[in-house]
């Protein structure tokens, strides 16, 4: 039997006002794109706490997409500016800890950019497919093998 290709699990954290609407447009325009993504809708990218990204990996995600309104388009004026700073700081920290930041894709996708969403998802699925399952994180989650943990 032919070996099945690895299908990465991707979690997308998106803003309600732009990217979520953009992804909707992708669908209503009948554009085809990879089905590996589970979308989680937020009121704003400013609401996307860094812990959500960590939890997605901990729960078995192989890749993450974070996307919201383009700069100056935030429904709440500045949520995406705050988010951008947070990601700039977080990304450096994650890299320093050896978390594979290639697995996290940040983007701005507006409500009108249905095609961009499809392209973004397809690209990221391919990137993560090449990287393979996120074994390091999965291994770290299996620490109670003997019913105990002492480091």
């Amino acid at each position: 039997m032919e070996k099945k290709e690895f299908e990465p699990k991707i979690i997308a954290f998106v803003c309600n006002w732009c990217t979520y609407a953009g992804a909707d447009l992708t669908g209503t325009s009948r554009m085809k794109y990879a089905s590996n993504v589970r979308v989680v809708r937020f009121p704003c990218t400013g609401r996307i706490d860094f812990m959500l990204l960590l939890k997605a990996f901990a729960e078995g995600a192989d890749g993450i997409i974070v996307s919201g309104c383009h700069p100056n388009d935030c429904h709440y004026t500045a949520g995406n500016f705050h988010a951008r700073r947070r990601w700039m700081v977080l990304r450096g920290l994650m890299d320093f800890l050896g978390i594979d930041i290639r697995r996290i894709r940040f983007s701005w996708v507006s409500a009108g950019e249905g095609a961009k969403w499809a392209q973004l998802v397809n690209e990221h699925v391919e990137t993560v497919r090449e990287l393979g399952p996120y074994e390091n994180y999965k291994k770290a989650a299996e620490y109670l093998k003997e019913g105990m943990y002492n480091g």
Binding site: G92, L93, F96, L97, G98, N136
Partner: protein, 266 residues
């Protein structure tokens, strides 16, 4: 040092203070010293590289309540006080802030705001050893860094000494003390040990003064302060805000500029 002691004695004798928080000789190094009378001032010792950061006591009501307090500050403690004042954790003239500069000059700050011009001149820099470890880590592959930190975090026993020693970790209820939701598992485990550190340094991002008290406090010798240092470097590089200088613009993550530049949002 003599000037410092003389000043403290004078403050005790005039009744201006009832408590001086400083250092005295401990088992092997310095230890925090709660000096309550002019006659005990003799035991006080000081150097700008002492740990822990004494500013941590200023937000402990149990310690400073009903006292007239003088605090003998290292440069790091001065920075912390400037930040604490900015976050409305300490009052305008609540404490006598005393400092002995590296060239042995006695300085007394009447208010936390007066600290700003002094620390503006002195950026917070990591020790040579810390710099070397950071460079070593930067040169590694991502996989190697993961393995290195995993080995470090495997020693973590979740004692939260890193939190307890930090002057800026003053929350009465920390994120790990809440169980609805329970963001971070309260028991020791590879993921939760790392998640805890990410949370700690992210909540300190732009507020941390780089004193290194967290790393110095770790009983297991995990260099958790390097994570803070990395963020300080990152902030300087991205936003041009130099580590440890007066917090003029507000905490980095509470503020933004429309033209903040990154290269990874595509």
């Amino acid at each position: 040092m003599d000037k410092l002691k003389a000043k403290l004695i004078e403050l005790f004798q005039s009744g201006e203070i009832t408590l001086a928080i400083g250092y005295k000789q401990g088992t092997r190094g310095p230890r925090p010293f709660f000096c309550r009378s002019a006659s005990d001032v003799e035991q006080m010792i000081f150097s700008n590289d002492y740990q822990p950061n004494l500013a941590v006591y200023l937000t402990k009501k149990e310690v400073v309540k009903d006292e007239k307090v003088a605090i003998v500050c290292t440069i790091s403690a001065l920075r912390s006080i400037a930040y604490l004042a900015r976050e409305n954790q300490i009052g305008q003239s609540q404490y006598k802030i005393i400092h002995l500069s590296p060239n042995d000059e006695l300085m007394i700050f009447r208010s936390p705001w007066d600290i700003d011009p002094y620390i503006e001149e002195i950026p917070s820099t990591p020790s040579e050893d810390d710099r070397r470890v950071i460079e070593m880590l930067d040169a590694m592959t991502s996989e190697e860094r993961w393995a290195w930190w995993a080995a470090q975090f495997s020693k973590c026993i979740k004692c939260y000494a890193c939190r307890a020693a930090c002057p800026m970790c003053y929350c009465t209820r920390c994120i790990v003390d809440n169980n609805r939701p329970q963001w971070i598992d309260p028991w020791a485990s590879p993921l939760s040990n790392m998640e805890w550190q990410i949370n700690r340094v992210m909540h300190l991002a732009g507020r941390c003064v780089g004193c290194g008290a967290c790393g110095a406090a770790c009983p297991e010798g995990i260099p958790v302060h390097l994570l803070n240092r990395k963020i300080l470097d990152n902030i300087e590089e991205n936003f041009g805000i130099t580590a440890g200088l007066a917090p003029r613009e507000g905490a980095v993550l509470n503020t933004f500029k429309p033209d903040d530049k990154e290269n990874f949002i595509k």
